[in-house]
Symmetry: C2
Subunit: 404 residues, 2 copies
């Protein structure tokens, strides 16, 4: 009997490269190996007590639908948060609450581009952009950045060459996942100038806003001339260690954009009620929580950078923000090395897991010597994890030498 095949959209959507090594990790764990997980961006910091307090205070008899744009207390608390960040033009009606930053990205892409149209972005990039683009039928056009420059934006000419009649937006991420790079004022001015010249939207992912260790993070909402072009995609997940709550938002002063994402929001009815209620309490509790968290991550950043640069043949620049960095390793095939670390190597029953570089690129063949490291463990564990990487590299490369 013939069986219908899934859509070409479904076939072409990539599996999560970050989760690809999971089966090997499970097997290692089952064999009693402890794994330092530097492969995913799951912070280990406690969720604020205000969240659980508000959650346990929820007393509605019926857990009902809520407004598609999000509940009022949360939107008001977000308005105040953006004001504290210097974006005083943002009002409640410029904010749509989404089910995680994930939904903010999907809705934003759908709002600006129809199937077959293009969105430019800079690679390496957060792999799920690619997943959402496939789901939306949108073509994500990568523009290369390089380890040697610390993944700074390329020249205006290089970016402009990629703009076609189908281009609808430029997608940026700062502080960057996976590179930890923060876009400078002049880089953002370049983006602004191109967006205005070619009448493009700018989709800006700033979920790591507070994870800024050196210098200053400039948000897309700081550019008044881009007021109608800018769409901010935000999330509470990292900032308040609320990854499992699935609360994010879209912010824009473009009323047509907000009407459009509201229509998408109406189709899915509403984000989860309980988490919105509890998240509002967290945002209202103010900014002290993530100030402390940022101090802790700066310490971790310094630790991991120092440890990594002590390994012969390893290259990375000091990341400025987020809690990731891309590291170039002295190997030919990073996927093989990362898998080998799980299947064939351990140091006193411990090993380290990182995310292979190719998953962060769309261009075939790129990222083969790079890996993303998420420094989401305390400094002592980070030191151990990097030491294991160092020992692993040494054994792996000797083995390669021996077999050649």
């Amino acid at each position: 009997m013939p069986v219908p095949s899934v859509s070409s959209r479904g076939l072409s959507t990539p599996a999560s490269p970050i989760r690809k090594l999971a089966p090997f990790a499970e097997k290692a764990k089952a064999e009693g190996i402890k794994i330092y997980l530097l492969n995913i961006g799951q912070p280990d910091i406690s969720t604020p007590p205000e969240f659980y307090q508000a959650l346990h205070g929820f007393k509605e008899k019926v857990l009902a639908y809520n407004p598609s744009q999000g509940i009022d207390p949360l939107r008001q608390s977000l308005e105040r948060y953006y004001h504290r960040n210097g974006f005083e033009q943002i009002q409640k009606q410029d904010i749509l609450v989404t089910t995680g930053g994930s939904e903010a990205v999907l809705f934003s892409m759908m709002a600006v581009a129809s199937p077959g149209e293009e969105i430019l972005t800079f690679e390496p990039f957060y792999p799920n952009y690619n997943g959402f683009a496939h789901m939306a039928g949108v073509h994500l056009v990568p523009i290369q950045t390089d380890p040697e420059t610390g993944y700074r934006l390329p020249s205006r000419k290089t970016i402009e060459e990629k703009i076609s009649s189908k281009t609808r937006a430029i997608l940026i991420c700062s502080p960057n996942n996976p590179t930890g790079t923060i876009l400078s004022q002049s880089e953002l001015e370049q983006i602004q100038s191109l967006a205005l010249k070619h009448n493009l939207f700018v989709l800006s992912d700033e979920v790591y806003r507070e994870f800024t260790f050196d210098g200053k993070h400039t948000g897309i909402l700081s550019f008044p001339d881009l007021s109608k072009h800018a769409i901010l995609m935000d999330s509470l997940s990292k900032r308040y260690s609320l990854c499992g709550a699935r609360i994010g938002c879209i912010v824009s002063k473009n009323a047509e954009v907000m009407q459009t994402v509201l229509k998408f929001g109406q189709a899915r009815l509403c984000p989860p009620t309980l988490e919105q209620t509890a998240a509002a309490a967290v945002v209202d509790a103010g900014d002290n929580y993530f100030k402390e968290m940022t101090r802790e991550y700066k310490k971790r950043r310094d630790t991991i950078y120092e440890s990594l640069t002590n390994i012969s043949g390893v290259f990375c620049k000091m990341p400025q923000g987020a809690f990731y960095l891309m590291v170039t390793f002295p190997v030919d095939d990073i996927e093989d090395f990362c898998r080998w670390m799980l299947t064939d190597f351990h140091l006193k029953k411990e090993t380290t897991m990182v995310a292979p570089g190719p998953g962060f690129y769309r261009t075939e063949g790129k990222g083969k010597c790079e890996a993303r490291i998420a420094y989401v463990l305390n400094s002592d564990d980070l030191k151990k994890a990097v030491h294991i990487l160092k020992e692993g590299l040494s054994v792996y490369n000797k083995k390669a030498l021996g077999s050649s």
Copy 2:
């Protein structure tokens, strides 16, 4: 300065027709009018205590990401639920937890159809199917059913005429929102036969499974020959009065479909952690909860049907399930009448709100005399609400007569 326009996808996505009259309702409320809300499917039944107990027992220090396919305890409890419903072939790996039934519909559409491809469905239908189809770039092709037949499926020939080379699936909903019709065994066999002949998927929305008052509900998973064609889209929202929790699922024995929806699921990371934990406890508590709920809704169904058929010129057939029915009113323009009930009419400071029919049709000009009624209030309130409709109709039609 030129401003970029949203995508044609965004422009063409319809606003929720169910929420269109909301501003008039708000105004009436502000003027002190009490409104009986029969326009939306928000049950008034208390959420099960097991849900809140499990919620308050959640003690994780970090509210973390969870697996993209859903947490194990919930998938296991759902497996047991489907077994209790006679679908013993369903195993945990055939179930992907989604963020509400909404995401189950969006993911299923995307998994079976690429942009530009077609999915057949029967109108009137749940309006958000249309929203999701626009978001996915998929063309929803409506096949008409009629009030006179109680919205039964049309002939095989009528359905088959709509199948083109672009058709990828037939979408059905039983018990039906908005009509309350339950597909018979022979109607489902017709669908099966067409799906097998033309190698189409069958997307089956059965979120009202337990709301079956007369006869028996037959699920798509009861057809072994359709095992690889069937995709069940389900939700806990109505069954357990958990609308705000946003927990649903996709169920299929087609491994390629499950791999595809998992890839979509990986892009959005995971459904909300807390609600999954609490929902697992509810599903495990067994089926007594919704048995009682179904008894209550049967009583309401009987009440509303009797009250409505007492109004001169009003037509409806006895609905068999869900908690909706489509009613034909003796008016020319139901949208005008529904709005007028909010802006110009009240009976002792009370009025009634229902959902105008055209929003449930894709075909232009259809549904102009129909409205959907959600009988989500207790029987006494339903009697009052229908009495107000009756009085309103009388005044509205006298006024029309006077002005003609």
